[in-house]
Amino acid sequence: MSAETPLWEVFIRPRNGLSHRHVGSVHAADEVLAIQAARDVYTRRGEGLSIWVVPSAAITASDPDAKGEMFEPAESKIYRHPTFYDIPDEVGHM
């Protein structure tokens, strides 16, 4: 099945002002059917206003074995977090 119907990653924009978010994946023969499948699987309860699909094969992922050197160095740098001042409500989503 995977030869004829490759996997696609699905991104949905929930409402105006928010960016597309990854929601899951679908199998489909091409990009047109992938959009339809994403619509039928992931927007049944009015979740979305826009859909992106991306071939899963086009995604380059970080190496799980390298997560120590990739991510642990950031854990000890508390001064990088913008937690020392208040963000006004009017700014909205950041």
Binding site: M1, L33, Q36, R39, D40, V41, R44
Partner: protein, 252 residues
């Protein structure tokens, strides 16, 4: 026949089309070739059944005899149903199911578009919502028809078989009779015959991409609007109506 009765006739025809097709689509639930399509078919089935409910409710109100949408759906017999023969045809395979949807949606999309201008405000409001659902059904079924028709040797053969089997049922879509003519004259509902050129253009566009040819129809198969059905309808109604008939008045 009064305009009220004529409109009731039309609403019942339309509601029966959508209930029967919706039930056919529901039969795929749990059996579709892939999960994505299982949901897509169930979504379309629910669209159809939702439209049927609204149409039955409107018909029952226009009739004014105290019948409910459930009475109309579950307590009429085979000969009382006025749906097109096309929508009662069995699912058989995915190609037949998609082609049946294509034929019906290619007709209903312009029908709803025209009906949204109906002099009956309730029907017009219902039509405006249903048109968007029909537009998606048309898009979905057309894309699949193109891919199956222009796909593998087997998918192309199944699509050609489906066309051979279902095409003779399509002239019934455009049949005019006293009911449709009276309602068209009164500006209450579209004249089905007038929608034929748009339907034929839609099918020709899809078939050209799919590598399919519409066969010449020697013997059009018709009769649903008069309650004369194929043997398939009774087998559909039996499981659909069983619960309501076995437990009269049951609620859930």
């Amino acid at each position: 026949m009064s305009t009220r009765d004529t409109l009731f006739q039309l609403l019942i025809r339309l509601a029966d089309d959508h209930l029967i097709l919706g039930h056919r689509l529901s039969e795929w639930c749990g059996h579709a070739p892939i999960l994505e399509e299982d949901l897509a078919l169930a979504n379309m089935g629910l669209d159809c059944i939702g439209q049927a409910r609204a149409l039955y409710a409107l018909a029952a109100e226009r009739e004014g005899k105290g019948r409910s949408e459930d009475d109309l759906a579950y307590l009429r017999e085979e000969r009382g149903f006025r749906n097109l023969l096309l929508v009662e045809r069995p699912n058989r395979d995915f190609a037949q199911t998609m082609l049946r949807q294509l034929y019906f949606a290619a007709f209903m999309k312009p029908w709803w578009a025209a009906a949204s201008q109906s002099a009956d405000a309730d029907l017009a409001a219902l039509a405006a919502r249903a048109e968007k659902e029909a537009a998606y059904h048309l898009r979905h079924a057309a894309e699949w028809t193109i891919r199956l028709g222009d796909g593998t040797e087997e998918s192309a053969r199944r699509m050609r078989d489906a066309v051979e089997e279902l095409h003779p049922y399509t002239p019934e879509l455009f049949e005019a009779d006293e009911t449709t003519m009276a309602l068209a004259a009164a500006g209450l509902a579209p004249d089905p015959a007038a929608l034929r050129p748009e339907w034929e253009a839609t099918i020709a566009r899809v078939f050209a991409e799919a590598g399919l040819t519409a066969p010449e129809i020697r013997y059009p198969l018709t009769g649903g609007r008069r309650g004369l059905h194929t043997e398939a309808l009774g087998h559909l109604l039996a499981p659909m109506q069983y619960l309501r008939r076995a437990h009269p008045g049951a609620t859930w």
